[in-house]
């Protein structure tokens, strides 16, 4: 073997990688199911913040939030904070309700890109008016929503997707295309932007878990396996104090949960590389955030975090989930009599046959229905 053959095979190898990288970024939009799930989950998280604080909206961020004025004067968000700056409770409530409407629109995928832009501006404009009360869920939601502006997050489970299927893109003017939700820019531009933003979002998630773990492994209480005992014994995180103490007084459970919290975060990025460990770490991260949501009273923080983990679940899993929900929903509908019961309706074969042809083909869902002649 000579050096020339070595270098030519290396060149061949690099060239293949170059082609594969270009193909990954240019040929199709990735993680369309995952990002649709992300859209719904982060939308619900924002909606949750808005609704559960609705009763206290004036004192938190509105005309009664004079107490936070010194914080606002030093805020980095500057002009954005003036959006909700009004003495009128009526006007404030109207803006607040509009933001709730925007969050709902993002959840159901109505005019998704526009509504995502409105949400990524509206949420910080509101919650950063009292940044002292914020948490990292606000930050990850803002960053993730910003990346979502460049991505297609309405490919599935959305009003936009339904509208798009109703009218094919042929022979439409740009304005009509915009109205029916068809792209006006060339495919390669939107695909490239989508995938690049997806890479940026994935890196952001890796960074946050890895950094979080690197800080924890420095701590002697995390190493000692007792770390969780401390916050869970505070009133601050005492939603159900008896539940917290039940978990933390058992030495085996406490050590296991403490180590679990560190390991899930530490190994998150690496575990995604192998299909088995990917499933394990995704289940782990769901459990971790589920625990934080219930035990520590931080549901919207947890949901915002989970929303962006959703991009790492495969399209195939989402399709299986969709079929399962479809079957359950159909069963439920026939039970309440919304769907006429036929003899074979409950047979799996018949159900399978009744499913739309495109259910098994991720590509087909992207395409509009054949033009009706």
């Amino acid at each position: 073997m000579t050096t020339t053959t070595l270098s030519s095979s290396t060149r061949q190898y690099l060239s293949n990688w170059n082609i594969r990288t270009q193909a990954w970024l240019l040929l199709e939009k990735r993680a369309l199911y995952g990002l649709s799930a992300t859209r719904i989950l982060v939308g619900i998280a924002m909606l949750g913040i808005l609704i559960t604080n609705f009763g206290n909206r004036y004192v938190l961020w509105g005309p009664g939030s004079f107490w936070a004025e010194p914080l606002r004067e030093r805020s980095e968000f500057g002009f954005l904070l003036s959006l909700f700056s009004t003495d009128s409770p009526l006007l404030f409530t109207l803006f607040y309700l509009a933001l709730i409407g925007v969050a709902v629109a993002v959840v159901i995928g109505w005019r998704t890109r526009l509504m995502t832009i409105a949400l990524v501006l509206g949420m910080p404009a509101l919650v950063e008016r009292a940044d002292i009360l914020g948490n990292q869920g606000d930050n990850i939601a803002r960053i993730g929503l910003l990346f979502m502006v460049f991505m297609t997050t309405n490919a599935h489970w959305s009003v936009d997707a339904r509208r798009r299927r109703r009218r094919v893109a042929d022979n439409l003017t740009p304005a009509q295309k915009l109205w029916w939700g068809h792209p006006i820019l060339p495919d390669w531009i939107t695909t490239l932007l989508h995938n690049a933003a997806l890479v940026a979002l994935a890196c952001q998630v890796f960074i946050l878990y890895t950094a979080s773990a690197l800080y924890k492994v420095q701590g002697d209480l995390w190493q000692a396996g007792t770390a969780l005992h401390y916050p869970l014994s505070l009133h601050e995180y005492g939603v159900f104090p008896w539940l917290n103490s039940m978990l933390t007084t058992n030495p085996f459970l406490l050590t296991a949960l403490t180590y679990f919290s560190v390991y899930v975060q530490l190994f998150f990025a690496v575990a995604l590389l192998h299909p088995v460990s990917r499933r394990l770490v995704l289940i782990g991260v769901i459990c971790l955030h589920g625990g934080i949501a219930v035990l520590m009273g931080l549901p919207w923080f947890s949901l915002a975090m989970l929303a962006f983990d959703a991009i790492f679940v495969s399209s195939r899993t989402y399709q299986a989930l969709q079929r399962w929900v479809g079957r359950r929903f159909r069963g439920f509908r026939s039970k309440i009599g919304a769907v006429p019961k036929t003899g074979s309706a409950r047979q799996p074969e018949a159900l399978g046959a009744a499913e739309p042809l495109d259910a098994t083909d991720p590509e087909a869902r992207e395409k509009p229905r054949a033009k009706v002649k």
Binding site: T52, P63, L71, I132, L133, I140, A211, Y230, G297
Partner: protein, 283 residues
């Protein structure tokens, strides 16, 4: 259909996922597809990817513990890139988790407008009402952090203050403008630096606002002065978990001087009601 379903289930098995390395003959096919795109598309891929990676590197440097990379980039440069859009902090519950409970107590000197008599109220802990908001509530409101986080900010800002600076903080500023506290703190050599003093002054004003809001709402008469004090008490160690709860440990109390009340309009005060009631005020 049955067989289709079955084969899909097999596909779901972890071991049957696609091989890590695509077969080499795939590349010509991909190459053909790519060749159908405008050349600008292929030209832009790598620059865009590099941009994404540089961005991610900057975010990673910001989010991770301090490294020589951060020094090389420069803290201020990094800050100006990250803030406010990409602001994030992942040292939550780390290196060690939160293990103190705090109190934030307020009291006021009140004056009866008709008789001119003044009286000093009892201390009221605003954090207690915040704890109540959390208990048995899966969806606590953010009002559960107003006094608690203000106390945290005060404590952080005080952490590096030396004795002379603490004396300044404990002094009264009822006639003297509060700006004199800032300049007084700055003139002390050593102790807390400029950033911490600014943080302290912000937290002090927030604390005065909360104290005034509560006093105006809860107590009869005109507010003459307000005062707040804070404390921390440690969660009992794991070893002592059966002997003590967080409510039995010894608190460390931090004092602050009397302050002139904040100027709050009646209109603003009206909407403060929800918080004052959460803190236990009944009017």
């Amino acid at each position: 259909m049955k067989t289709d379903l079955a084969s899909e289930t097999v596909d779901e098995l972890p071991y049957s996922s696609p091989p890590a390395k695509p077969a080499p003959q795939e590349t010509p096919e991909l190459r053909n597809k790519l060749n159908q795109l405008p050349s600008a598309a292929r030209f832009l891929v790598w620059p865009l990817l590099v941009l994404v990676l540089i961005h991610s590197l900057l975010v990673a440097t910001w989010a991770a513990p301090g490294t020589p990379v951060r020094e090389e980039i420069g803290a201020d440069n990094l800050r100006s890139y990250i803030l406010p859009t990409f602001e994030q902090n992942w040292s939550i519950f780390a290196p060690n988790p939160r293990r103190v409970a705090v109190t934030f107590e307020v009291r006021a000197q009140m004056q009866d407008p008709s008789s001119g008599d003044t009286y000093t109220t009892d201390w009221v802990d605003l954090v207690e009402g915040e704890d109540q908001e959390i208990r048995h509530n899966f969806f606590p409101s953010r009002t559960s952090g107003m006094a608690r986080r203000t106390a945290d900010r005060l404590h952080n800002a005080r952490a590096n203050m030396n004795e002379t600076q603490i004396e300044w903080v404990e002094a009264n500023f009822v006639e003297t403008p509060i700006e004199d506290l800032a300049s007084g703190l700055r003139d002390v050599s050593g102790g807390a630096g400029a950033t911490q003093i600014n943080n302290y002054m912000t937290a002090d004003q927030v604390a005065v606002n909360l104290a005034t809001g509560y006093a105006r709402y809860a107590w009869e008469g005109e507010v003459v002065h307000v005062q707040f004090r804070t404390s921390t008490r440690p969660a009992p160690s794991y070893q002592n978990r059966h002997e003590q709860t967080v409510d039995d440990t010894n608190p460390t109390v931090r004092e602050y001087g009397w302050r002139a009340p904040a100027e709050i309009s009646d209109h603003e005060l009206e909407y403060f009601e929800r918080y004052a009631q959460q803190a236990g005020a009944d009017r």
